[in-house]
Amino acid sequence: MAGETQTEEKWGVVKTVAVFTACFAVAVAYYLGLDWAMMVPIQNLPFPYR
């Protein structure tokens, strides 16, 4: 939330977007990995389905 924190340096828009993109990519990788793990080894179901 902009302007909320007091002690750390302010980030610019570019840096914020870049860091968010990186975090989002990690999150997507995590969730896709979670999907695979919950389907294939845990339930013995194909993912992705072919």
Binding site: M1, E4, T5, Q6, T7, E8, W11, T16, V19, F20, C23, F24, V26, A27, V28, Y30, Y31, L32, L34, D35, M38, M39, I42, Q43, L45, P46, Y49
Partner: protein
Amino acid sequence: MLKWGNRDMARRGAIGLLVIWGLFLLLLPLAPGIVSVFAEEAPAAAANADPNAKKDDTPKAEVAKDVYYKTEGIVSGPPAPKLKYPDDYGRYGNIQSRTLIWIANQQHLYFGSFVLAVPMFVFVMELVGMLQKDKKMGKKYDDLAHEMMKISLTAYSITAILGGLLIFTFLALYPGFFGYLAKIFKPIMHVYALLFILESGTLYVYYYGWDRMNDSNGLLKWSHLSISLLLNTIGLALMFFANTWVAFMQSPAGVDEQGRFLGNIWRAVHTPLWIPIVVHRILGNAAFGGGVVAAYAAYRLLAAKDSAERAHYDWMSYTAMFMGILNLIPLPFAGYWLMREVYAYRQQMGITLMGGLLAWVFIMQATMIATLFVTTNYYLWQAMGRMPGGERYTRYFKYLLLILIVSTLVWLTPHTLVMSPAELKAMGGAQHPVVGNYGVMSAKNTAINTIITTTVLCFVLYQRCNKVPTVKWAHFGNIVLAALFIGAELNIIFLGIYGYYIPANVRIGLSVPQVCSTLTTLFVGVTINTLMLKNARSLGEIRWGTLSTRGAYALFLLAVSFTWTMAVMGYIRSSVRLHWHINEIMRDNSPWAFTNPIGYAGNINSLNVLIFWTMLLFVFWLGALAAKKAPARQEVPVGVGVGEPVIASH
């Protein structure tokens, strides 16, 4: 040598007591097995003896196959009787016996759920109080726990009375059925009754010994806590046992296809739906109990005469609601597990529930669940109104509400509509070309996971409502949280859409990663948020006692919604057996072996809710009557809270 003043020794001693109790309670489930070893088995062997056999021939015990486990066992009981009406049924005038047993059963379940849930909260509150470094805060939690226990005390007696009423109703109106059930479950029923005696004694020692055993976290206090643990364990054991009969009726095991008991009580107890029902009920009861206590506190808040009393009950209502909602969040997942086990046990039963006769009853349930979650979010928004700094998040509420409404609409959408033949023809089929797509599980799972994720987000906002993070990585933490929630939601939606393009047997597995995405936001999101708020700068104390009236009414709605949801779920569970008392074993041959029309069921559910709340108001009134003193009064100006509980400060 133990020194009474040595707190460490007292704690170790109490932990020792807890361990001993724990071992005792772990062994308790063996009790039915031990009882059954000494139980007299029906002389099936002698009954099956061939009268023409030579005298020195030993009659062979008849062996039969378990209807579920498919193992062989020695026949140890008579077949399930083929009941006849009116010989094996009772009746009062023109009243449906099924409706009478329905009401008796539901009332007992309501009060049983309440007295199961409240000690769980009380245990947590007492423990939190004992672990507080701030003694004043510790006493607040302890007093809250004591007050919660007082509310439930009368409810225990009513639970037992209703249990007696239920048994008499069974004996009077369904003697044939109940006699058969009692033959099989007699060891369980006796242990059940004995546990009630143990529970009563434990309860009275626990409640009346509260002040006497309060030696400022010494041995007595820890012993008192261990009594609470014992009380909870007995309560859970009682529920485990009671659920064996319900689960046996729906998915029998331990008997052959004629209903003859095969001698292994564990098989009859451990039916395929037993544990899923237990898990779903534990969470449901805890959510329900939290809602009821929160509603009680909301009423006392509105009726409070001074600011200190208002502050106390505002805090109590939040604490109870918080514990209730903590159990509400995983509840749909437990329900989904139960449904999967129903489908695994009998696919037709699953189809009856969600795709056939009871599909519209599940739409009623969906309405109630949506009400619960939207009301929870609404309460949290109202609660943020009493926190300095809450105005920063007010602008986000409309977006959260939009997400909740859209998800609710998808969640509620039925697959088939009630239509006339002309309407069917105009629509071109049984399903609407657009809206019909939202009536399937792929859409439903997506909707409910979205609703729960939104509720988690709302709670994360509530946690940080009156705080400003001061950690150096706060901005990065916010970005991580945003990525976590957006990623989870996109994954949930992706899996929901993906489910339309794959076969059904693969699609049902997608609910697991969807659930895990939601749980990731809960556990990881709340953890990150909590870490971010360490040493955060406070924008002001929570203004306990200044919750809006709308917020208090939201708690009333929450409690009544919980009650109605339980009624409709009980109706569903009973109705799915269709014309069976015990599925595929004992047929219901009464005149009421039909599925009630949905309107009638709704009316009886509402009647049950009304009866329960009337009795509960009497319980609350008694509790208030017995109050010796009002909550600790402090001279504080209106609008300023009397203290901030640890939970809300995270």
